[in-house]
């Protein structure tokens, strides 16, 4: 059994700054594995351990995603090996384009039973890649996955749905996007960090992959900050908590919030 975890090596938004013009300045943000991807690796590691599957990390992107440090950081989380496509032509690539390249890598690896991704990337947060990737592969896509058990061809997938939980049985290959809180990823130990450098890393040329031309091109053509709603600046001027609560409820009802 082969399980692929598609992860992203990207900059941490907490270290980015936003200029007065609203443009995000990423220049001082240090790169790292995208926040929710360790959750995906943790879920996949559990399934791989239970099924003796090989766990393969796949990442694609512009210069930097394939540095030894980036590869070791991902491998230390529990991957068995990594396949990396590092090509500067992917700088600024859209979600559909990136998903198509990941799909090509999955096809190249061959005999993959399952692809697991994080909930969303921390920098873009479009939540598009798992769905587009599944479309490219012709597989079903399942989001908000909380746990995966079973065997290839008979997977049992738990997922969070509004108001409850759902259990799916999947009989073939699929793309699963884990929920952001599916599990708490463990922090790698020092031995894991040292062992990461000994794991295989395969660098694949983008040109060597069979990536079909996209039929649709999506380009971001504008950005704006969310419109700020007018503030009412209403103060509840009372020392009686019960009276204050009643006034608050009344005020919220008046604006339709309750």
């Amino acid at each position: 059994m082969k399980i692929v975890v598609a992860y992203k090596w990207t900059s941490d938004p907490e270290e980015a700054t936003v200029g007065a013009d609203g443009v995000v300045n990423w220049s001082r943000a240090r790169p790292g594995i995208s926040t929710y991807d360790p959750v995906a690796i943790e879920v996949a590691r559990g399934l791989a351990a239970a099924t003796s599957a090989e766990l393969i990390g796949v990442t694609v992107g512009a210069k930097g995603v394939g540095t030894p440090l980036a590869a070791k950081a991902a491998l230390s989380r529990g991957l068995d090996r990594a396949v990396i496509v590092e090509d500067d032509s992917l700088k600024g690539a859209g979600q559909a384009e990136l998903a198509a390249v990941v799909a090509a890598v999955v096809r190249r690896i061959g005999d993959v039973d399952l692809v697991i991704t994080g909930d969303s990337s921390v920098d873009v947060a479009a939540k598009m890649v798992p769905t587009v990737l599944a479309g490219e592969l012709g597989w079903p896509a399942v989001a908000e996955v909380t746990d995966v058990t079973g065997q290839p061809g008979a997977l049992r997938v738990g997922r969070a749905v509004p108001g409850g939980a759902q259990v799916l049985e999947i009989s073939g290959p699929a793309v699963l996007a884990t929920s952001a809180d599916a599990t708490t990823p463990h922090v790698p130990g020092m031995k894991d960090l040292l062992a990461a450098g000994k794991k295989p890393v395969e660098h694949v040329d983008l040109a060597a992959l069979d990536v079909p031309a996209s039929s649709a091109v999506m380009t971001i053509t504008g950005r704006a900050r969310p419109a700020r709603k007018e503030r009412k600046h209403q103060l509840l001027d009372t020392s009686d908590p019960a009276e204050a609560a009643a006034e608050l409820v009344k005020a919220l009802r008046e604006v339709g919030a309750l």
């Binding site: 790698p188 130990g189 020092m190 031995k191 960090l193």
Partner: protein, 380 residues
């Protein structure tokens, strides 16, 4: 000359920082306030192989280099200085003597449990009347048949209430002059005649319990002797040579935490209609703090790198500890100054950093001892 860290060293920093920010920093204030030994974090640290980093995997360690160990200690201490001293007292002071001077049987018996973090260790050298003058100790270990009988007391023993294995120094030849006649022993917690006293109330690192130890006709087997009879002072000094670099790393972590707090506060605090970070008086303080920390970091890493390369590190370790510890106290002092009156309260962490920093100028050799070591080398 290469100042770049390796990939593994960078990963150690980011990984241990992630752990320290999630598990240590959130409880650092509480364990200080309650004088509580953070027992619950030790299994987590052991799970990350943080309790025996520089020892080979065959002995339960992580097999990292010494620079990585110092980076990890710095990051742990940045999150919680108390946890930093627990880590270094165990890893360096208690485990190193067995790794370096222990017989194969002693290594087989203790090292794996200690380097993996399953059993905590402590180092007992200081006595009420023998601090800087360690050779003036009066604790005795008299040979009796196939055993030694220990009598006397020790003070300021980090980890003591929670440790299971103690490295204890005592005079096997009480009549010998100076540093001769002292030997080192491995004493297990449940040995009859051995007891742990009440913990001291301290200015800082309050979660690290440092009580006295008492030995009353405490009989240990002859094979508890570490190294040879009379080798104790050498074992203690070689252990402290490495330990001092660790205290330098601990000081570095405290200093960095104080600078981080000061920078965050300076950006938020508005006076005269603008953040105080825009005032030159504050900027100059921050510049001096950052520069001192960087210099201290280079000294600590250089001393650790000497260990990794098999170079001498006694003088370099003394320089690292001296400069890093005095930097920590100074930087924490400046961090309080930047916070103004708020910095003097428990509402902000900088008063704790200030109290935690001071001990780094005192234990494992005062600043005066470090200067003595450095001067001796310079005047040679």
């Amino acid at each position: 000359m290469d100042f770049e860290l390796t990939d593994e060293q960078e990963l150690v920093r980011s990984t241990v920082r992630e752990f320290a920010e999630a598990e240590l920093a959130p409880v650092a204030g509480e364990i200080d306030r309650d004088h509580r030994f953070p027992e619950e974090v030790l299994p987590k640290m052991a799970g990350m192989n943080l309790m025996g980093m520089p020892y080979p995997e065959e002995y339960g360690g992580a097999g990292t280099d010494y620079v990585s160990y110092m980076i990890a200690l710095e990051e742990v201490s940045r999150g919680c200085a108390t946890t930093g001293v627990i880590m270094t007292a165990h890893t360096t002071l208690a485990t190193f003597p067995i790794y370096k001077f222990g017989s194969q049987a002693q290594k087989d018996k203790y090292l794996s449990d200690m380097a993996s973090g399953r059993r905590l260790g402590a180092f007992a050298l200081t006595e009420p009347a023998a601090g800087t003058d360690a050779a003036a100790g009066t604790c005795t270990a008299i040979r009796k048949d196939n055993s030694y009988v220990l009598n006397g007391s020790k003070i300021f023993i980090s980890n003591a209430p929670f440790a299971e294995i103690y490295i204890v120094f005592a005079k096997t030849d009480p009549d010998a002059q100076g540093t001769r006649g002292m030997s080192a022993f491995i004493v297990e917690r449940d040995t009859p005649g051995f007891s742990v006293g009440e913990a001291e109330h301290k200015l800082g690192i309050r979660g690290s319990s440092t009580p006295p130890l008492y030995f009353t006709n405490c009989q240990v087997p002859a094979d508890a002797l570490l190294g040879q009879e009379g080798q104790g002072f050498k074992i203690a000094m070689q252990t402290l040579d490495g330990g001092r670099i660790g205290i330098g790393a601990q000081a570095l972590g405290i200093a960095q935490a104080a600078l981080d707090a000061a920078v965050a506060y300076a950006k938020e605090r508005v006076q005269f209609g603008k953040p105080i970070a825009s005032l030159q008086a504050i900027q100059w303080m921050i510049a001096d703090m950052a520069t001192s920390i960087d210099a201290a970091r280079l000294l600590v890493y250089r001393a650790a790198s000497n260990i990794d390369h098999g170079f001498p590190y006694s003088t370099e370790g003394a320089m690292a500890k001296l400069f890093a510890s005095e930097t920590a106290t100074r930087v924490a002092d400046r961090a309080i100054q930047i916070h103004g009156g708020y910095g003097y309260t428990e509402s902000y962490p900088v008063e704790r950093h200030y109290r935690d920093a001071k001990i780094t100028e005192l234990y494992e050799g005062t600043s005066e001892v470090q200067r003595m070591v450095i001067a001796r080398a310079a005047l040679r």
